[in-house]
């Protein structure tokens, strides 16, 4: 909300400097986004009077003037032949700066001395809204009453500040000069004047001009209307257009300007209809018919539904309620009779219509925030006062007052609530004086506070709202920190999943992996890049209103973002990457969603320039954060991994993740030219297999026995299976592969594997017989299952 200081001063006697004002406003909750001094760039420009004009001796286009700048006559050369002796004009003196960025220096023009430059609207940064005649291209001729020597900023209305105030969404009442003035008055401890809303009604009756009917009070809770006859459409006075210009509007004509002025000053969006355009003199507030068409003032045609609210006469819609008037009933130069509308339209309704049609206006923006019916009346009366003040017409007798009328609200609560919520006490007389300054009538009796809240404060509905008013004026600096000494003890801690995620982080950072975080959504193009098979887009949860297509699908895998990151890093010459992310996969049972989908916690791990064995061990270390029993690696298949170098991590029969070497095609898609390995593990699944409580098992006092075995088997045999045949024996402590040999004498596609098996018994010294019995079992089984023969 733009707030010119000069406008605020109409209501509050602000004598403080701008910094103090801003600080006090911030302190009570009005955030100031920007402070602009309108005359900031215009320096050392004053009013002068031309006392003599002569033709430049060396240049036909130039004139040599002598000007009085207040006790001193100086020479100025100009090329504007409109100037005459006796004119008062702005002159930029030596060292001056102007709004269009000029730095003025004294000098000679074609041999004639000039101690400055005459200025026009461009140099002053103004328009005709600020000063009459400021639409010329050339020197601005000032009014005769301008005082010679005066700083020009004071003359053309730019010796003013405009504050950009950020109003929180609960304070709809502050979206106006008056609303902010009330707050400024509280902040400064001063009075706020009431707007002048007096006017005299003429003979003509409103009821003779128009009949107003509201059909849908649920979306139009209050509706006020009053007429103006003998309208004279003309320009508004400068005091009005300059204020409108400072908040970013242009002067159009007196009637339209009055509605805009009231919108900004009182916060009430108004509409003025040309009464001649209202057929049957009837205004009906009704829901639109399905398919009904309207052309508002922007000239475009919109098709409406029964959700939308229109202002209509008997035959057609003449306005889109609260958003924009119809092109068929607007104010024209020849308008003679006008009816003003001042109403409240339901904010949700305005919001939906405005969004659907993509049509927004100052008016709809206000209605979306909410307008109180008290403001309807104030706005209408202020508009009528301005009509009279500007001599724009005569106000007709009587107004339509349909629907709700403003009411005060009474809130009663125990005074002890104040301390209970704030933790500090505030003296009773201070409580009363603060609330009174906010126009909240307050009485305290026997520890009970009674507050009568003015209707424009619809944000205040219960005790805590009053307490907030109290503390924001009393000052938050009076709150001193305490550490919940009076609350009960609770035990803090993380969830099991958080703890395990932390554990994974510790392990992976210890293994020199760096943690990444990516957006959990992406686009079809990215997901396709990360898959050798076509992706089924219909399985992805889709954002209805994404920033772009590339951020429209919720990830079902962590891989695509990781590959993209690897590609990016490699392209920047960041080598030897070790990266991981703890993120989520969003998996819908069915689409469109009717319930919240599963969010599966996962970890992705990626490394470049490592061997399969190194990477496998890193992945296993991560898995061992959860469990190291029942874990097996089985050849797997994946959309993004090399078919020959891809393992499923299986724990007690459940696949909990996959890892392997990046598929060459995928590597190519992401510009990855080095060896790259990738793992994606499901933390939720790993958690389901987490190891139980640790239990000590006795350490054998008897020596262990190591036996080595060598087998010949087919190349395809997974060695782990052979090891497992030993590992499942009760006396086997470990079984490890220590050599693999391939050679001609073995035959094609054969390999020889050497395994070292350690046997132990906690209860006795092992006998060869026992070992042979045990290993014999394993050897038979190995031969049966894997066709592996002892060498």
């Amino acid at each position: 909300m733009k707030l010119p200081l000069s406008w605020i001063r109409e209501y509050v006697d602000v004598t403080e400097d701008i910094q103090t004002l801003c600080k006090k406003m911030v302190d009570i909750g009005l955030e100031i986004e920007e402070v602009v001094y309108l005359g900031e760039k215009v320096n050392n420009v004053v009013v002068c009077q031309i006392v003599d004009i002569a033709q430049h001796p060396n240049a036909e286009r130039l004139l040599c003037c002598k000007v009085d700048i207040g006790g001193e006559i100086i020479p100025i050369v100009t090329n504007d032949h409109r100037v005459q002796v006796g004119n008062k004009v702005p002159v930029a003196l030596h060292g001056a700066t102007t709004a269009n960025g000029l730095n003025i220096k004294k000098g000679k023009m074609r041999g004639e001395e000039s101690l400055g430059m005459f200025c026009g609207p461009e140099e002053l940064g103004i328009t005709a809204d600020y000063y009459p005649g400021a639409d010329v291209d050339g020197v601005l001729i000032l009014a005769d009453d301008a005082v010679v020597g005066t700083d020009i900023r004071k003359v053309v209305g730019i010796d003013d500040y405009v504050l950009d105030v950020c109003v929180t969404s609960n304070r709809q009442d502050c979206n106006s000069v008056l609303g902010l003035a009330r707050e400024v008055a509280v902040a400064l401890g001063k009075e706020c004047k009431q707007p002048d809303v007096t006017y005299t009604e003429c003979e003509a009756k409103t009821a003779d001009l128009v009949t107003a009917v509201v059909q849908d009070y649920d979306v139009c809770p209050s509706y006020f209307m009053q007429g103006v006859v003998d309208v004279k459409i003309e320009k508004s006075p400068i005091w009005m257009t300059s204020r409108l210009a400072k908040v970013g509007l242009h002067g159009i004509n007196n009637l339209v300007d009055i509605t805009n002025y009231v919108l900004y000053e009182i916060g009430q969006p108004m509409h003025a209809f040309d009464q001649a355009d209202i057929s049957d003199k009837t205004i009906i507030v009704r829901r639109a018919k399905d398919g009904e068409k309207i052309i508002p003032l922007d000239g475009k045609e919109y098709t409406l539904t029964t959700e939308d609210l229109v202002i209509a006469d008997k035959s057609r819609a003449v306005g889109l309620a609260g958003i924009m008037g119809g092109a068929n009933s607007g104010i024209k130069d020849e308008t003679t009779t006008v009816v003003f509308e001042s109403a409240t339209f339901a904010r949700g309704n305005i919001r939906r219509t405005s969004r659907r049609l993509g049509l927004r206006s100052d008016s709809s923006a206000r209605f979306e925030k909410g307008i109180e019916c008290a403001t309807n009346i104030l706005g209408l009366n202020r508009a009528l006062h301005l009509v009279e003040q500007l001599g724009a017409g005569k106000v007709t007798q009587g107004a339509y007052c349909l629907g709700k009328m403003p009411e005060n609200k009474t809130i009663v609560f125990d005074e002890s609530r104040i301390e209970k919520l704030l933790g500090i006490t505030i003296a009773e007389d201070r409580i009363i004086s603060i609330l009174q300054s906010l126009n909240i009538q307050t009485f305290i009796e026997n520890g009970v506070v009674t507050c009568i809240v003015p209707p424009y404060r619809d944000d205040i509905s219960r005790d805590c709202d009053i307490i907030e008013e109290l503390i924001r004026v009393y000052g938050y600096d009076n709150i001193t920190g305490t550490l919940m000494e009076k609350s009960r003890i609770t035990s803090g801690g993380k969830t099991e999943k958080h703890n395990y995620c932390d554990k994974v982080r510790t392990i992976l950072t210890g293994l020199r992996y760096n943690e990444c975080i990516f957006y959990p959504f992406g686009g079809k193009a990215l997901f396709e890049k990360a898959s050798v098979n076509p992706i089924d887009e219909s399985k992805y949860i889709r954002v209805l209103n994404p920033i772009g297509e590339e951020l429209s699908l919720m990830a079902r895998e962590l891989a695509p973002n990781m590959f993209q990151c690897v590609g990016l890093n490699l392209s920047r010459k960041n080598n030897n990457l070790r990266l991981f992310e703890i993120g989520k996969a969003y998996l819908a049972d069915s689409l469109p969603l009717t319930t919240l989908p599963a969010e599966e916690q996962r970890v992705s791990i990626c490394a470049t320039e490592v061997t399969f064995e190194q990477f496998r061990d890193d992945v296993l270390q991560t898995i061992y954060a959860f469990t190291n029993s029942g874990v097996s690696l089985v050849r797997g298949e994946s959309n993004c991994l090399h078919p020959g170098i891809c393992a499923n991590v299986v724990i007690d029969g459940e696949v909990c993740g996959q890892f392997g070497k990046l598929h060459p095609q995928i590597a190519n898609n992401f510009g990855i030219e080095v060896d790259c390995y990738y793992a994606e593990l499901c933390i939720d699944k790993l958690l389901a297999h987490k190891r139980g409580a640790i239990k000590f098992s006795p350490i054998s006092k008897f020596p262990s026995v190591t036996r080595d075995f060598a087998f010949v088997c087919d190349e395809d045999v997974a060695v782990q299976g052979i090891l497992d045949e030993f590992l499942c024996l009760p006396l086997v402590e470990s079984a490890t592969l220590f050599d693999v040999y391939r050679g001609e004498q073995l035959g094609k596609d054969k390999k020889s594997i050497a395994i070292s098996v350690v046997f132990t018994d906690a209860t006795k010294t092992l006998q060869d017989k026992e070992i042979e019995k045990q290993s014999g079992k394993a050897l038979r089984s190995i031969q049966e299952k894997y066709g592996a023969v002892l060498r």
Binding site: L421, G492, G493, T509, C516, P592
Partner: protein
């Protein structure tokens, strides 16, 4: 006899020239080994006339003793030399460092961890909630009905009419209070989503929600907790300032500023000359929210806060652009390692 003396001379002189432990060992085997020369000499005793044998034997044994002690002496001498040589020759350029340090945690994780650890010690439990959330928990249960203007503060990504990407971690407030009666001390860190993207806004960022509900919880407790966090995050002199604000689910609501960690409150470019940096929103839980979750608002009061993790990290580490957090350039990530 002369053989004995000859051997003594040969052996001792060879021994004298011996310079390594290895050659000493060879020499020892040559002379004193089982098949060594001395043993050979002893064996030649059988070729002597019987009367000379005792003397010869004694002489040989005398020589053995002599040689053994000479060897022992030489050995310790050589060992000492070897030690001195190693001490002299074995040198490493200890100034060289060429190792990969531990991997780094993401700065978001670092800040989350710091804050979680501090608050866990104060009795807060750390909870997680869904990122794909219902309109009910994200808005309505937090006193933000449909068409409430506060919805405009947060540009929401929708999945369906009633399911969305959570715009805040606050839904966890309602989710927890529905299930649990006070005392409640909870934080909920996590990803949130808003349709916004530039140097200081990312469509995805992280928040930490804090909620305390019990008897006797006041605005002073909120300030105290935030002062405790601030001093641990940014240094003991960090001050906390409350400014009035508005959130539908807290009343009173405040914006919380900290003294600028860059200039210590004097005013600089980071704090735009104000000396203060806005870091989070907070307030006393709106009784409407307590009541809709089935908590007695007459008996219990509470406070809540929601802070932006990246915002804290940007201030703490001086990171200029939020997009760096999600690009994950290795040179960015590595800076947060220990």
């Amino acid at each position: 006899m002369s053989k004995i003396m000859e051997m003594e001379v040969v052996c001792l002189s060879t021994l004298n020239e011996c310079t390594s432990l290895q050659s000493l060992q060879e020499l020892k085997v040559r002379f004193l080994g089982k098949t060594g020369e001395l043993t050979g000499l002893l064996k030649s005793i059988k070729d002597l006339p019987p009367e000379e044998r005792p003397t010869f034997g004694a002489k040989v044994n005398e020589l053995r003793n002599k040689l053994e002690s000479a060897f022992a002496e030489k050995q310790s001498q050589l060992k000492e030399q070897e030690l001195q040589r190693r001490l002299r020759d074995e040198k490493v350029d200890v100034s060289l460092v060429n190792m990969q340090p531990w991997g780094a945690l993401h700065p978001v994780t670092l800040v989350e961890k710091t804050i979680s650890d501090l608050l866990i010690a104060m009795g807060f439990e750390v909870l997680a909630g869904p990122e794909i959330e219902s309109d009910w928990y994200n808005f309505q249960a937090l006193n933000i009905p449909a068409d409430h203007p506060a919805r405009d503060m947060q540009d929401t990504f929708y999945i369906t009419d009633s399911i969305l990407l959570r715009t805040q971690t606050s839904p966890m407030q309602a989710r927890l209070m529905e299930k649990k009666q006070p005392p409640i001390k909870m934080i909920c860190p996590g990803k949130v989503f808003r349709s916004d993207s530039d140097a200081s806004h990312s469509p995805v960022f992280h928040q930490i929600e804090g909620l305390v509900v019990d008897e006797n919880i006041t605005l002073c407790d909120l300030k105290g907790t935030l002062e405790y966090l601030a001093s641990n995050l940014f240094g003991p002199d960090t001050q906390v300032r409350f400014r009035p604000s508005y959130f539908p689910f807290t009343e009173p609501s405040v914006e919380v500023d900290l003294t600028c960690s860059n200039c210590g409150g004097k005013g600089c470019s980071l704090c735009k000359g104000t000396g203060w940096i806005e870091v989070l929103g907070a307030g006393m839980v709106n009784p409407v929210v307590l009541e809709s979750c089935g908590i007695d608002s007459k008996k219990y009061t509470g406070y809540a806060f929601g802070l932006g993790v990246e915002r804290i990290a940007m201030i703490k580490y001086g990171i200029p652009d939020i997009r760096l957090f999600y690009e994950c350039d290795l040179r960015f990530l590595k800076q947060f390692g220990k």
